[in-house]
């Protein structure tokens, strides 16, 4: 059993996006965080102070732990931003403004 089967979901065709240069498949309707989780990725930010990895924590847009760089734009909440075909998703290092 998986969640798609449980909800009897028939999503439209998946599409490729990249995460740190690696191609992963995303489904229409998913958020960036959901697409990354589907690909087995749980961390996509490092903290400003100690450089520790972070990913989803609250899942509803409150905690800002899941900040990520999408198409060159840092500080996007991965749990809220819808994933789009061709998105370039990158791990956000620190403030995301240093690179």
């Amino acid at each position: 059993m998986n969640p798609l089967e449980l909800a009897d979901a028939r999503p439209g065709p998946g599409f490729p996006v990249t995460f740190d240069g690696r191609t992963i498949e995303a489904l229409p309707g998913q958020t960036v965080a959901a697409a990354l989780w589907t690909a087995g990725i749980t961390a996509w930010r490092t903290t400003r102070g100690t450089g520790r990895p972070r990913g989803v924590f609250c899942g509803i847009g409150v905690c800002f732990d899941c900040l990520v760089t999408v198409n060159g734009r840092p500080n996007q909440r991965a749990c809220l931003v819808p994933v789009r075909p061709g998105d370039t998703i990158r791990t956000q290092e620190g403030t995301g403004h240093d690179d």
Partner: protein
Amino acid sequence: MTERPRLAVIGAGPAGLAASLAAAEHGVAVTLVDAAEEAGGQFYRQPAAALGARRPQALHHQWRTWRRLRSGLDRQLAAGRVTHLTGHHVWCVERESDSGRFAVHALRGPAQEEGVVVRADAVLLATGGYEKVLPFPGWTLPGVVTAGGAQAMLKGGLVLPGRTAVVAGTGPLLLPVATGLAAAGARVAALVESADPRDVLRRPSALAAQPGKLAEGARYAALLLRHRVRTLVRHTVVEAHGTDRLEAVTVAALDAQGRVGPGSERRVPCDTLAVGHGMLPHTDLAETLGCRLSGTDVYVDDEQRTDVPGVWAAGETTGIGGAALALVEGHIAGRSIAARLRGTAPDPRAWAAAGRARARLRGFFAAVDAVYAPPPGWADRVTHDTVLCRCEEVTAGEVRTAVDELGAGDLRTVKLLTRAGMGWCQGRMCGPAVAGVAGCPLTAARRPLARPVPLGVLAGSEEDLE
């Protein structure tokens, strides 16, 4: 024909929907403003339409109630009595000094950079709540998520964070999270509850008021059994292990004083920890409007009015009590608003049944709240090097230094001395952690802006939706 008075409802969860329907049926034009793409709030969070879910009810409880709300909303939308603004993140509500009306400021668009303003004669705050998580060593590791967050990602995105989960903390939310993750295919290695749910049974007044809850508990017990979820009551997660992601947790038994039983620790391998310790209400918009709070909740009277004229509140923002309570509070608010906007006093007999249900449910949740309190010793178990403020990476040791050596005695002073609570989340996540470790009360923080706002929008660049 005179124009209908306009109500802005902030939040399309159970409270906001019930209020919108009641007000629209009684002569009010409603603008329902919500951050999500689909109505439902957290409790009835819907899978994204493009995922094509034909059986979303498999992820939900009380689906019949949702169908009733959804079809009611569809009827009012078709009749033009309700306008539903999806994907609108409200950051401030203010009373305009010239007109006396309310201006609801929101952000929309894919990057939430477009400012819009909605004007209304009255406002209902139905902003819901968010999860409280108390810290422990390892709680910042990827793979550790809030229990509600795991559920939200499952309901909305049809995804799981990993293969093997431990669900831990305290509170009634842990049951649907554990059974939901298991039904969706995760192996739930353990449900770790620090309280003893049987203590609710020892409060007969609560159960007499709400007998249906006993049956609900029995249903969850059967589901846990079916999914072979081991339930450990009076246990807690003392540490999460891993280097760059979660690999295991240490679980230990608690004695009646909340102390960890020596030698009771055991290691449970897992890649996901879904953890939560209850909920807190979203009160930012109410505070900026000047509404009085009672503790951390927005104060309301019997009609769900705040103490600011023209501002009503319903649901979790007025005190955590679940979806059924939010529905009746929303209904009462909608009826009151419809009468007050006509300039008449409402007759409470019109909502007598909802009023009785409200009293019963509030009584029940007061008892639940007392039983599912965090174990007394939790703050002492937080090691000095454990991060409390996840945004600013402030450790428990720094907070203790601020209290013990610098004399901080309240959250605001701790924040000024350590930066705890100054980051992106504005102390929403670390507030209970810092208060517990510092030994000071959890007070509502004043946040004039409910979310980050682009400077251009603050400078007045907004589209007027009126």
